[in-house]
Assembly symmetry: C2
């Protein structure tokens, strides 16, 4: 799995986690993790392989790929043994797919003609395309299996203006597949759905393109469907101290099974692009707090110039970047990893388009909730958007050799 | 617009069309076409520019790009001058976007802060990504403007098993944007929709990925969501004699405004992938008539080996490739250019996935209708699929310098 250009995980960092392992019920989850493998490695845009196992799950600080297929599933059983059996099979399948097994001609097609093919086949011959599959657990799964919910996994409160569709919200489990080829991401999700028949059923799914946040200093900032650069100020894979502070759940926070993991907040945000497009450039820039072309904070020249949020600042009190800033949220920051979407049209002559917001953080209720409460109340951009789906998942830590998704919580 | 690797249009071919122009009311549409420009040139997968003007519209025999955004629109007016005005503005905008105007930093952002930006901006900084925009006219537009419908543009008859949703069918106009970056394709469609406000409204739209047909011998065959290579036997850009025979409308066929154009048939085909995935490999291969791994016709070894459709053939009477073959359809062939789609899930625990079938031909009623009638009645694959949307459009010929989309029909 090693290849030129991959950054080895530092020995200090690996030892740091192994040292912390004594405090973890799931210490085995990081044992066997080989030096030289890291989920944080930069990826080849076309056919790179991102290591499946590591201290953290891949697909979080992995440089954001260009395409997403996200699915939320519900359990159809409360039999813990059946769930464990599924998670073992999912782990095996996910590891095989992220390694690019489909690139071997005919390699994945079942040879027994009397049985259904072991793989659905549409990715045969395609490279791994930097595929990552990230696994999350909803609070409702813990409820069903009689496992205590960590307080951080409490349901989100309603926010002003929410127009949530229950059919696009929640879920017992989630799988986030990211890749640089949509066919590879769709193939991965579909085969895991198929593996889950009899144990899980699809609750909702979402395709995305054109990542709206960069998660590495090696990436350029992309644009959302309002035409603005999005996620300029995002946390980056290289900010390891900030990730430890804001993203990874430390052992002291608990629960033990989530140490080294994180929480995922997903929001499907419909954007009324037709209305936005009739708004003047000055108004768009004022609402955002950045210029449209360069993406610089208002009053500054370049994208990465720091915004002036002090007294007399040219950035308005209701500008999006001010309301969402760490300064305005008690220092709270999150790791964003969202995607644009267009789901056809809405039947009223408009595109059903927007931003599928995905963010990782160590406590949704201390990080996302205060920020979103403020945005929902004050952000004038809310006039142009509508939150139509919402979900929160606990994302367990990465897997050591032989470990499977969810082991720390189901056998902990 | 010329660059290394582009094939110049042959002088003979250019003169052939110019010679035919004397018979065309819209001869001006091909005048001014510069030697060295061709819509049939192979494209750079990342950032290539496909010439906008030429004998034929781009996006038909252009080597199929990987992503699609297709939109059908309805007129909200019957004022011919308003329609002409829109088509002129569309042509200007489409030509600008296909040339990759967004790659110039900040180039497309309107400088007047009091006005809405002239471009929505989400493609700023992105290369052309081989963008093509192909324009089509529905029979209902001709009816509304009092222009006679060519008989080839009569509505398709109902086919056995059709489950058509009127909200996903028909349309006065269509725009097919193809590119190697979905953000570029979506940007193009969105800006044209925006330009149409007050004259057109969105009827339906469809995103697609993972082209399911190659349209050039330089391309490999991709796979559909049944996991099979699709379009192995497709017409190719290089088969110019076959394209003249099956795709391009000859002057003698009429109407004059469509000489050098073609017809586009679109079918949204929902595929019940979950049911298919439970079918044995032998059954899947028998229904298809090809092997799953290599894509060879049953009884042959390699993908491009000719199928044995004679007496005693191992390919069953109901196999898809037999029913769809030219031999079985009086020699009729079509140029396929479809895409896979996943539109989230269906609310019943399944993916809403399938194939957005797009095909070009000179007469839908002599080519598509007999073939589809036969497939609908006999193809056992129909048990796994459902046609949920349908449309037919006339696709005018390519544009010479200064010409605009639809001129031949609206001013003819």
């Amino acid at each position: 799995m090693t290849r030129a250009g991959m950054r080895g995980i530092s020995r200090r960092r690996l030892l740091g986690w192994t040292g912390a392992g004594a405090a973890l019920a799931g210490a085995g989850a990081v044992a066997g993790f080989a030096a030289g493998e890291s989920a944080e490695a930069p990826v080849d845009p076309s056919g790179g392989v991102v290591p499946f196992r590591g201290v953290h799950q891949a697909g979080i600080v992995t440089p954001a790929q260009d395409r997403l297929h996200f699915v939320a599933l519900d359990l159809t059983t409360t039999d813990r043994a059946a769930v464990i059996s599924l998670l073992k099979r999912w782990t095996t399948a996910a590891e095989r797919m992220t390694a690019g097994a489909e690139a071997a001609p005919g390699g994945a097609v079942q040879r027994n003609p009397e049985a259904p093919p072991s793989d659905t086949g549409e990715a045969l011959g395609l490279p791994a395309a930097a595929l990552t599959i990230t696994f999350g657990i909803g609070g409702s799964l813990l409820d069903k299996l009689g496992i205590p919910r960590p307080p951080e996994l409490a349901d989100l409160p309603p926010f002003q203006g929410d127009q949530l569709d229950p059919a696009l919200s929640g879920g017992d489990l989630c799988l986030q597949a990211c890749a640089n080829d949509p066919q590879v991401a769709v193939h991965a999700v579909r085969n895991l759905i198929r593996t889950g028949f009899g144990t899980t059923t699809v609750r909702w799914s979402q395709l995305g393109f054109g990542r709206t946040s960069s998660t590495s200093t090696t990436q350029q900032t992309h644009r959302n469907l309002f035409g603005f650069k999005d996620g300029t100020n995002n946390l980056k894979a290289e900010d390891t101290a900030l990730l430890d502070e804001h993203v990874w759940v430390p052992p002291a926070q608990g629960p033990a099974w989530l140490a080294g993991g994180t929480y995922l907040v997903a929001r499907r945000i419909r954007m009324h692009v037709e209305t936005w497009d009739r708004t003047s450039l000055a108004e768009q820039e004022s609402l955002t707090g950045r210029t449209k072309g360069e993406g610089a904070p208002i009053g500054q020249a370049r994208e990465f110039d720091l915004p002036d949020l002090g007294p007399g600042s040219p950035i308005g009190a209701d500008a999006h970047i001010r309301l969402a800033s760490a300064q305005n949220n008690g220092g709270a920051r999150i790791l964003r990893r969202g995607y644009n979407f267009v789901d056809g049209s809405d039947g009223f002559g408009h595109l059903d388009a927007g931003l599928f917001f995905v963010a990782f953080m160590r406590d949704p209720h201390r990080q996302f909730v205060p920020m979103q409460s403020q945005l929902a109340r004050q952000d004038k951009m809310m006039e142009y958007i509508e939150h139509t789906g919402s979900a929160v998942f606990a994302v367990p830590p990465g897997l050591g050799d032989g470990a499977y998704w969810g082991r720390t919580v189901l056998e902990g």
